[in-house]
C-alpha cells in the first residue's frame, strides 16, 4: 500500500503522462518556429528601413522571405495575429521565445507602439509591394494624434484592408473585473456567438478550429446557468444572437441542460458543451456558399476535426458526437455515444421548434416534446429523453397557450419544481377581452387553476 506521498507521486506521474499525450507538440513547435521567423523578419525589415531606402535591392530577399514565412504560417493557422505585450511577442496566443542574444535587437513592439499599435492581424497573404508599403508606413512617424487610425487608413489606401491593427496590449491588472459566475447569463450566452464565429471561420477555411475559446465560453455558461432557468433565458436571449449562432448556441445550452440533469460533473459538461458547439461543423466545410448535404454533414466535419493532435477525452468524445449525433438510439451500427445521444435530443428539439424564414417553427414546443416523447427508445435514448422532459416540462418556453379563461399566454419558464411540470410561468400576450396588456403581465400556471385548452403554433 503506497503512503499518501507515494500515491501522490503516482497520480502526478499519470497526470503528466496524460497531459503529454494530449499535447499537439508538432503544432506548437511549428507555430513557435514559424512565428518567430515572421516576427524576426518583420523586425529586421523595420530596422533595415532606418538605414536603407525601401527601393534598395537589399530588401528583396528579406521581403520575399517574410512574405513566404507569413504565407506558411497562414496556411497553418489562418489569420496570423502578432501581438506585442509588454516585452513579449505572441503569435495567436503562443508566446515566442527568442535567442537571448537576439532578444535585445527585437524592437518590433516599440516600432508599433509609436502608432498606438500593439498587434497586427494578417488575414491574407501580402505581396512584395504590400510588404514594402507596410514597412514604409510603420517606419514613418505618425503625424496625427490618432496614430493608429492614421496608419490603418494609410494601409487601406495601400490596398491592405485585410490587415487589422490592435491597440497596445498589457496584461490585465489585478482588481479588474474577474470572469466570475456573477456574469449575466444573457451576456455570456451572447458572447458565445463570437466563439462560434471563430470556429466557423476556421472550418470554412479548412483549418482546425481551436476548441479552447469555445471551452472558455462553455465554462462560463455552466457557471452562469447554475441555479437559473437557463433554457428560458436562452430562449429569451436567442433573438439577440446573430442568426448563424442561434441554433448552435441553443443546442449547446439544451445539451448542457440534459447533461446536468443526468448528473454529469462540470468537467464533463464542459466537454459535452464543446461537442455540442461543434456538432454541425460539417455544414461549414468548404466555406460560405459551399453546400454540404445535410445527410452528410456529420461525416464531412471529421476530416477537419481529426487534424487536432493529442489524445484527449474531450476530443475523442467530440469526434464521436459530431459523427454520430444524427443516428437513432437504436441504430443498427450500435448505440451512439453518450454525447451524441444528448446532442441528438437537443438538436431535434431546436430543429422542430426554431422559427424559419417567412414562417414560424415546424411545430410548437409542446407538440415537439410530445412527438419526441413518442420516440423514446427509438430515435432517442429513453432515459436521456425523460431527463429532458422532466426539465423542460409539458409546456416548454416558447409555447403559446390559450387558457380556459380566455387568456393567451407565452410560456417563459421550464420546470421550476415537480409541481410546475405542467404549469409554467407565462407572459400574457392577450387578455380574455382580446387586448394585449399595456405592461408586461405574467401568470403562473402552477399557482392557480388555469387550464390550457389550446396550444397555438407560433407564426413568423
Amino acid at each position: 500500500m503506497p503512503d499518501a506521498i507515494e500515491a501522490a507521486q503516482q497520480r502526478l506521474a499519470h497526470l503528466l503522462a496524460q497531459a503529454r499525450a494530449e499535447e499537439d507538440r508538432e503544432l506548437a513547435i511549428a507555430v513557435r518556429e514559424q512565428g518567430a521567423q515572421v516576427a524576426h523578419l518583420l523586425n529586421g525589415l523595420l530596422r533595415m528601413a532606418r538605414t536603407h531606402a525601401l527601393n534598395n535591392t537589399a530588401f528583396d530577399d528579406p521581403v520575399r522571405e517574410f512574405g513566404a514565412a507569413l504565407f506558411r504560417l497562414q496556411d497553418l493557422l489562418g489569420p496570423v495575429s502578432l501581438q506585442c505585450v509588454e516585452k513579449h511577442i505572441y503569435v495567436n496566443d503562443l508566446r515566442l521565445r527568442f535567442d537571448k542574444i537576439l532578444e535585445p535587437s527585437i524592437s518590433l513592439g516599440d516600432d508599433l507602439k509609436k502608432h498606438g499599435v500593439g498587434g497586427i492581424t494578417f488575414n491574407e497573404p501580402l505581396s512584395g509591394d504590400e510588404i514594402r508599403a507596410l514597412i514604409r508606413l510603420v517606419y514613418a512617424p505618425p503625424t496625427s494624434d490618432q496614430p493608429r487610425a492614421e496608419l490603418l487608413a494609410a494601409l487601406a489606401a495601400a490596398g491592405m484592408r485585410s490587415l487589422q491593427l490592435h491597440p497596445v496590449f498589457r496584461y490585465r491588472i489585478s482588481g479588474e473585473d474577474y470572469l466570475a459566475p456573477s456574469l449575466e447569463f444573457a451576456d455570456v450566452y451572447r458572447s458565445g456567438a463570437v466563439a462560434i464565429a471563430t470556429v466557423f471561420a476556421a472550418v470554412s477555411a479548412g483549418r482546425l478550429p481551436s476548441p479552447l475559446p469555445v471551452r472558455r465560453v462553455i465554462q462560463q455558461l455552466i457557471d452562469a446557468s447554475r441555479g437559473r432557468d437557463a433554457v428560458a433565458e436562452a430562449v429569451a436571449a436567442d433573438p439577440s444572437l446573430p442568426p448563424f449562432a442561434r441554433h448552435t448556441m441553443m443546442v449547446t445550452m439544451l445539451s448542457l441542460l440534459i447533461g446536468r440533469g443526468a448528473g454529469l460533473a462540470d468537467a464533463s459538461l464542459a466537454d459535452l458543451g464543446v461537442a455540442a458547439a461543434f456538432h454541425d461543423l460539417g455544414l461549414r466545410v468548404g466555406g460560405p456558399g459551399a453546400s454540404v448535404p445535410f445527410a452528410r454533414h456529420t461525416r464531412s466535419g471529421l476530416p477537419v476535426l481529426l487534424r487536432q493532435r493529442g489524445f484527449h477525452r474531450a476530443k475523442l468524445r467530440r469526434l464521436l458526437a459530431v459523427s454520430e449525433h444524427g443516428r437513432d438510439a437504436t441504430d443498427r451500427g450500435g448505440v451512439p455515444s453518450l454525447y451524441a445521444r444528448v446532442i441528438r435530443i437537443a438538436d431535434d428539439y431546436d430543429i422542430l421548434t426554431r422559427p424559419r424564414a417567412g414562417r414560424g417553427p415546424i411545430v410548437s414546443t409542446p407538440d415537439a416534446i410530445a412527438r419526441m416523447a413518442a420516440q423514446g427508445g427509438k430515435a432517442y435514448d429513453p432515459l436521456l429523453l425523460q431527463v429532458f422532459v422532466n426539465l423542460i416540462g409539458r409546456f416548454p418556453p416558447g409555447a403559446v397557450l390559450r387558457l380556459a379563461d380566455g387568456h393567451v399566454v407565452l410560456s417563459v419558464s421550464s420546470v421550476r419544481s415537480p409541481q410546475t411540470f405542467a404549469g409554467p410561468l407565462c407572459r400574457v400576450l392577450q387578455r380574455p377581452d382580446g387586448v394585449a396588456p399595456a405592461q408586461a403581465a405574467f401568470l403562473d400556471l402552477a399557482a392557480g387553476t388555469a387550464k390550457v385548452v389550446k396550444v397555438h403554433l407560433p407564426t413568423a
Binding site: G116, N123, Y178, A180, Q219, F244, P303, K315, V387
Partner: protein, 598 residues
C-alpha cells in the same frame, strides 16, 4: 491533510527580505544558486508562512522539469508543500493569494517574488489570466496534489489545444481552492479610452475580419426536420438515482476504451466513404493516439478489437491495411503488453498472439532484443511469440547466435532448434567448435534427438574436440550408437593427442571401445599394436599408456580368442591399475558380450 509540523519559515532565513532580494544559500535551503533568487518574502509571521507555502508549491511544480514524478527528491518536495500549506491553513486560516505579474501577495504583502519569467509561478499564473487563488482551510491533500500537477504541466511547457491553465483549474472542480481569472490581455488603458470614444467596440460583435465574414454571411435555417407523426403523453417521471448511474458510468474514464473502439470503427467506416473519404494520414495519426492511450491504460483487450475493426474497415474500403495496422500496434505496443503480463503467467494471452500476428513489419528484432535483455530467460510470452516470429528467419537467428554467449546463446540455439531443425543442425558444428560447455551439451542433446545425418555426424565429431569431458563423452556415445565410421579417424586422433589429467581413466577406455564398435577390423589392428609389451620408453610416455587402456576396453568389445590373448598380454606387463582394467575387460570378453563403457 496531515503531516509533521514544518519547520518555521525562519528556518531557512530569519531575515526579512525585500522582494527579489537574494537569501543566503544555506545548505539544504535551496536546490540551486538560482533558487536563492526566489527568496522568502513577507515580513509578518503570516506573510512568511504564506511565502514558505507558495515557494514550496512553485519549487515542487518546477522540479518536475528536472525529475521524474517517482524521484525521491519529488517525494521530499511534496512533503514540504503538504507541511507548509497545512501549517498556514491551520495557523492562519484561509490563504488568499493575489497574482501579480512577478509577485504573489497576501493582503497586499508580497510573499513571493521571482524576476525570472521562466521560473516564476506568479508569471505563469498571471500570463494565463489567473488573478486570485484562494486556499480554504478545508483544502484536502488530493486537491493540493492536483494543483501541483496543473502547475507542473505549465512548467513543463505542455500545451494542449484543449486546455489552458484557467480551464484546467476550472476542470479540476476544486472545492478547497477558488480561482478568479480574467482574459489574459486587454488594451492599455489610455488607448482603450480613446478607442472606445472613437469607435466603441461591441463585445458581442465580430472581433476580426474572419469573424466579420461569418457574421455578415447570409444565413437561412433550413435544416430538415424529423417527421415524427406519433405523439405520446408528456409526463413527469422521477428518475431513480440508480438509473442515472448508467449515464455516470458511460461518462466515466472507465468507458474511454469503449469510446476508443467506437471511434476506430467510425474511422474505419469513414475510410470506405466515397463521398467524404478520410485522409489516411489523419486516420493513422488518430489511431496512434488511441493506441498509445490504450497501451498506457493496459487495455490490450480493447486494442485487439480496435485492430480487428481497422482490419475489417481496410478490407471493406480497399485501403492498404499495413499503414493502418502499423498505427494500431507496433513493437513498443507488444513490449508494453509483455511487460504487463504477470511473471507467473505461463501462457501468452491470446490477445497478445493476435496482436503480434497483425503487426506489419519486423517483430523479430524487438523480440530478440527483449530476449537478450532478459539474459535469455524472458517471459514465456516472449518465447511463444519468438517461436512464431522466428519461423523462416534462421539466418537472422544465427546472426544473433553468433554474437551471443552464455544463456542467451543457449536460448537462441534452443529457439533455432525449435523453429528450424535443419538450420540448427547446420549450425551445430560451428557451435560445438566454439560455444561454452552448457551450450555444447545442449547442441549435443539436440543432435541426439535429431534424425541422424551427415550434418549431425560432423557436428558430433567436432564435439569430440570439446574442452568439456561431458560433451565429448556424450558425443562419443551418440557416434557409437550411430556406428559413424567417419568418426574413427578423429577418435583416433583424439586418442593420440589425449593428454592431461584424468584423460586415461575417463576417456581412453571409451575411445577404445568406440573404435572397436565403429570399425572392428581397423581397431583390431591398432589394438594388436598397442597391446605389444611396451619398451622402456613406452612405460614412461603417457600416450603409450593411454593406448593400452583404450585397447583393453576396445578388445572387450570384440570378443574372441585373439582378443582374450591380447588382453592377457596387456594385463601381464601393466601397472596395477591397468592390469585390473585389462582383467576386467578380459572377463567381459570371455562372457562374450563386451558391454559398452558407462
Amino acid at each position: 491533510m496531515s503531516g509533521a509540523p514544518p519547520p518555521s519559515g525562519s528556518d531557512r532565513d530569519d531575515r526579512d527580505l525585500l522582494p527579489g532580494q537574494a537569501a543566503p544559500a544555506t545548505p539544504g535551503a535551496a536546490e540551486t544558486v538560482e533558487d536563492a533568487i526566489e527568496a522568502q518574502a513577507g515580513r509578518s509571521a503570516r506573510g512568511k508562512a504564506a511565502s514558505d507555502a507558495l515557494r514550496a508549491l512553485a519549487h515542487t511544480a518546477r522540479s518536475f522539469v528536472l525529475y521524474d514524478a517517482g524521484n525521491e527528491r519529488i517525494r521530499g518536495f511534496l512533503q514540504e508543500v503538504r507541511d507548509r500549506v497545512e501549517h498556514f491553513l491551520r495557523t492562519y486560516g484561509e490563504l488568499v493569494v493575489e497574482v501579480r505579474p512577478w509577485e504573489l501577495a497576501v493582503d497586499g504583502e508580497v510573499v513571493y517574488s521571482e524576476p525570472d519569467r521562466e521560473r516564476s509561478l506568479a508569471f505563469r499564473l498571471y500570463r494565463d489570466g489567473v488573478r486570485r487563488l484562494t486556499f480554504h482551510p478545508e483544502l484536502d491533500w488530493s486537491e493540493l496534489v492536483t494543483l501541483v500537477g496543473i502547475m507542473s504541466i505549465r512548467y513543463k511547457g505542455i500545451r494542449t489545444q484543449e486546455d489552458d491553465i484557467v480551464t484546467l483549474l476550472w476542470r479540476a472542480g476544486f472545492s478547497g481552492i477558488e480561482m478568479a481569472a480574467v482574459e489574459g490581455l486587454v488594451a492599455s488603458e489610455e488607448d482603450a479610452t480613446r478607442d472606445d470614444t472613437e469607435n466603441p467596440r461591441d463585445p458581442f460583435g465580430p472581433q476580426n475580419a474572419a469573424q466579420a465574414a461569418i457574421f455578415a454571411a447570409p444565413y437561412a435555417f433550413d435544416y430538415p426536420w424529423p417527421t415524427f407523426a406519433e405523439r405520446a403523453v408528456v409526463e413527469l417521471r422521477p428518475l431513480a438515482p440508480g438509473l442515472l448511474e448508467r449515464i455516470a458510468r458511460e461518462d466515466g474514464p472507465e468507458s474511454l476504451p469503449a469510446d476508443c473502439l467506437r471511434l476506430a470503427r467510425e474511422l474505419a467506416a469513414a475510410l470506405a466513404d466515397r463521398d467524404d473519404p478520410l485522409a489516411l494520414a489523419d486516420v493513422t495519426a488518430t489511431l496512434r493516439e488511441v493506441r498509445d492511450y490504450l497501451v498506457g491504460e493496459e487495455r490490450f483487450d480493447t486494442l485487439v478489437e480496435v485492430v480487428r475493426a481497422v482490419a475489417a474497415g481496410a478490407a471493406a474500403s480497399g485501403a492498404r491495411p499495413e499503414p493502418l495496422l502499423a498505427a494500431c500496434v507496433d513493437a513498443d505496443t507488444l513490449k508494453r503488453f509483455i511487460a504487463s503480463i504477470p511473471a507467473d503467467v505461463a501462457e501468452a494471452p491470446p490477445a497478445l498472439l493476435e496482436l503480434a500476428s497483425l503487426v506489419p513489419g519486423d517483430l523479430l528484432t524487438p523480440l530478440l532484443d527483449l530476449f537478450e535483455a532478459a539474459d535469455g530467460r524472458p517471459a514465456p510470452a516472449v518465447l511463444q511469440l519468438l517461436a512464431v516470429q522466428a519461423r523462416g528467419q534462421a539466418p537472422r537467428l544465427l546472426g544473433r547466435l553468433r554474437q551471443a554467449s552464455g544463456p542467451v546463446a543457449l536460448g537462441l540455439f534452443r529457439l533455432l532448434a525449435q523453429v528450424d531443425g535443419a538450420a540448427a543442425a547446420g549450425a551445430a558444428a560451428e557451435l560445438l567448435g566454439r560455444g561454452a560447455a552448457d551450450l555444447q551439451l545442449d547442441v549435443v542433446a539436440f543432435c541426439e534427438r535429431t534424425p541422424y545425418g551427415p550434418k549431425i555426424g560432423r557436428a558430433l565429431v567436432v564435439a569430440l574436440e570439446s574442452e568439456s569431458a561431458a560433451v565429448r563423452a556424450r558425443a562419443l556415445a551418440v557416434l557409437v550408437r550411430q556406428r559413424e565410421r567417419r568418426a574413427f579417424e578423429p577418435l583416433l586422433e583424439r586418442l593420440k593427442r589425449g593428454t592431461g589429467s584424468g584423460f586415461a581413466e575417463t576417456e581412453a577406455p571409451a575411445l577404445g571401445e568406440a573404435l572397436a564398435r565403429l570399425d572392428p577390423e581397423r581397431a583390431m589392428e591398432l589394438f594388436r599394436e598397442w597391446a605389444k609389451p611396451p619398451g622402456l620408453l613406452g612405460r614412461i610416455v603417457p600416450g603409450q599408456t593411454m593406448f593400452r587402456w583404450a585397447a583393453a576396453s576396445g578388445l572387450a568389445a570384440l570378443p574372441g580368442p585373439e582378443s582374450e590373448e591380447l588382453l592377457e598380454r596387456l594385463a601381464r606387463g601393466a601397472s596395477e591399475e591397468l592390469r585390473r582394467h585389462a582383467e576386467a575387460a578380459l572377463a567381459r570378453a570371455r562372457r562374450g558380450a563386451g558391454k559398452p563403457h558407462a
